[in-house]
């Protein structure tokens, strides 16, 4: 009881000291292997998650790509963010509050086609969903891309060092997880690219499904990543036996807390406990500068060209 009371007394002091703490050793070195991860391509310049968007991001200097993957009722993997059209996030995106050039176009409320993607066929999804441009109309030049199109583009362009697949499957949709893994594995075995695939999910269940399906077929160019939203990325990643961390700043987490945890993760990487750390999604220049200082391995951004220029500065100080 006394100890508990004592902890309560000193906790504010600890918080104060932590906020003013100096950065530990091991930071501040340029990272030639940094992944400039184009978040859904270049959504400020083209419809997100489309081949056109990927092409633009490559032109901006991105050497890695993040895209969202869902699976339809007829088991087609498509690049689409909003698995459920009725979430708060989808509503915010629908209203164009993300600041992207296009916003997702959904069926009106009450429509029989306004339901989760896994309850729609690919044809229904493409007919009733899409992207609306600045004029508010459906952009016919921005169709919802099939996952196979991404693979084809990856092989033909050979411009990306890494593809981060943000899998939006629900934790119970093991079938989708397995299908995606098989598709990526087949591509890696057949293609001659050096592109590394990172399979991300926020659900440990999906990670375990991937671990099960990949048993005995592990490849260094297919990485499984628990995408941690909030605190505890290092612990949860190590707990699942993974080697790569993906973590981001969310609205309920202060930047100081995020940065403090990031330093711990970097220290773990320096000790060899993990292989890489990827952070998302940062567009502010001062934050990008700080993340370069922290020597992270990948930064997801909507501003690939800005990050590319900054990264080049760190590599060539002259």
């Amino acid at each position: 009881m006394m100890e508990e009371r004592g902890m309560k007394r000193i906790s504010p002091i600890v918080c104060v000291l932590a906020l003013m703490a100096c950065a530990p050793d091991g930071l501040g070195r340029p990272n030639p292997g940094l992944h400039i991860i184009a978040h859904r391509g270049a959504p400020r310049n083209a419809a997100e998650n489309t081949i056109r968007s990927f092409e633009v991001s490559a032109a901006f200097g991105a050497n890695a790509l993040e895209t969202d993957v869902v699976m339809t009722e007829d088991e087609e993997l498509v690049l689409w963010h909003d698995r459920d059209p009725d979430t708060l996030v989808t509503t915010i995106r629908r209203l164009g509050l993300e600041g992207n050039l296009h916003s997702p176009l959904l069926p009106p409320r009450g429509s029989t086609f306004r339901r989760p993607v896994e309850e729609l066929t690919l044809a229904e999804l493409r007919e009733h969903y899409g992207y609306q441009g600045p004029d508010g109309a459906l952009d016919p030049d921005a169709p919802i891309a099939h996952f196979d199109e991404l693979l084809t583009w990856t092989e033909s362009s050979d411009s990306m060092d890494a593809i981060y697949l943000d899998c939006k499957f629900e934790s119970t949709n093991i079938r989708a997880a397995e299908k995606l893994f098989e598709a990526v594995l087949a591509f890696q075995e057949a293609s001659g690219t050096n592109t590394r695939f990172y399979l991300l999910s926020v659900y440990p269940e999906i990670i375990r499904a991937w671990q099960a399906v990949s048993a005995g077929r592990e490849r260094n160019d297919i990485r499984l990543v628990l995408d941690v939203e909030g605190f505890g990325a290092l612990e949860q990643t190590l707990e699942l036996g993974l080697r790569d961390i993906s973590t981001g700043l969310i609205i309920t987490e202060g930047y100081t807390d995020f940065r403090r945890e990031l330093v711990e993760i970097i220290e773990a990487r320096e000790r060899g406990e993990i292989d890489s750390v990827t952070v998302w999604t940062f567009n502010t220049e001062w934050q990008l500068a700080e993340l370069l200082y922290y020597s992270v391995d990948g930064i997801m951004t909507d501003e690939s060209s800005i990050l590319f220029g900054m990264w080049q500065d760190t590599l060539d100080p002259g």
């Binding site: 003013m20 340029p30 930047y255």
Partner: protein, 292 residues
């Protein structure tokens, strides 16, 4: 895009400051003048309640301002109709029609201890002397306070200390203009913020008591790297380690006497999402510390 936003920031900041300047130079005196023309029922003092000392000082001040009692300039017709000093009342300094009563509550002064009353009289005379070149501005004398504040900001997470002025007018106690400078420190950054906000406060129980208010303002921020991060920036030549940002602030305040707790939400790229500060202010020109 930030790269496009940056060149516009100084212009927007100057535009924002211009709005405040316009408000403080035109609107505030206008409100003060309007209050001067309110019916005499706003003036609680009566001839009998006025202390001889204050009455005499008011009279002296008026004489000093106008050269002589007889040469006092005529008021506007509206004012004349309301205050309508009679020849006899003109000779009575604390009469209802004396406009000087607006800036000094005779009742309050009469109830104050002698020492405080003397201070008040001194200040009243000082205000009159300083305000007289501005014509009717003496009717609603300026209040100027000086203060300090400290707090923290979120995203960027920093401690913050600063200083500010509190500018206002005696006759509109609910509005204050607060130019301020503040410094944020922690993490890998040092921030300097220059700005100003308008504060609209409703006081419960007179201007001494508890009050709540609304704040709107504008802020200009310079951020630079410090420590080892700064060394990294210097070595690599990263321009992004030093930034200038501009934005708006909205928020609220809780005030008691001359203390306040203020919370600001910042609307602008690169600015902290939230600033919370504890502030205190002291009157340097004006009548009582509680006004500010």
């Amino acid at each position: 895009m930030r790269s496009n936003f940056f060149p516009l920031a100084p212009r927007r900041f100057l535009f924002g400051l211009s709005l405040f300047a316009l408000f403080s130079l035109v609107v505030l005196p206008g409100i003060g003048h309007a209050q001067d023309t309110e019916p005499v029922t706003q003036i609680p003092a009566t001839e009998g309640e006025a202390s001889p000392a204050s009455a005499e000082s008011s009279r002296e001040a008026r004489i000093e301002r106008n050269g002589s009692e007889e040469e006092q300039p005529a008021e506007s017709p509206e004012v004349d109709a309301q205050v309508a000093p009679t020849p006899s009342s003109m000779d009575e300094p604390a009469s209802l029609g004396d406009p000087l009563e607006h800036r000094t509550s005779v009742v309050e002064m009469a109830e104050e201890p002698a020492a405080e009353r003397a201070d008040g009289e001194e200040q009243a005379e000082g205000v009159t002397e300083s305000a007289s070149p501005c014509g009717d501005a003496y009717r609603c004398p300026a209040l100027i306070g000086l203060g300090a504040h400290a707090g923290f900001s979120l995203n960027v997470d920093q401690w913050m200390v600063g200083g500010h002025f509190r500018l206002g007018a005696r006759c509109i106690p609910s509005v204050r203009l607060v130019p301020k400078i503040e410094f944020g420190f922690a993490g890998n950054w040092f921030s300097t913020r220059l700005g100003a906000h308008l504060e609209f406060t409703h006081r419960f129980g007179g201007h001494h008591g508890l009050g709540i208010g609304l704040i709107v303002g504008t802020v200009f921020q310079h951020t630079r790297s410090v420590g080892r991060f700064h060394e990294f920036c210097n070595e690599t030549g990263l321009d992004q380690c030093s930034e200038i940002n501009f934005g708006w602030q909205v928020g609220g305040t809780v005030r008691f006497r001359n203390f306040g707790i203020e919370a600001f939400a910042n609307l602008g790229t690169g600015l902290p999402v939230l600033i919370v500060a504890l502030s205190t202010s002291f009157t340097v020109i004006g009548e009582s510390p509680e006004d500010l």
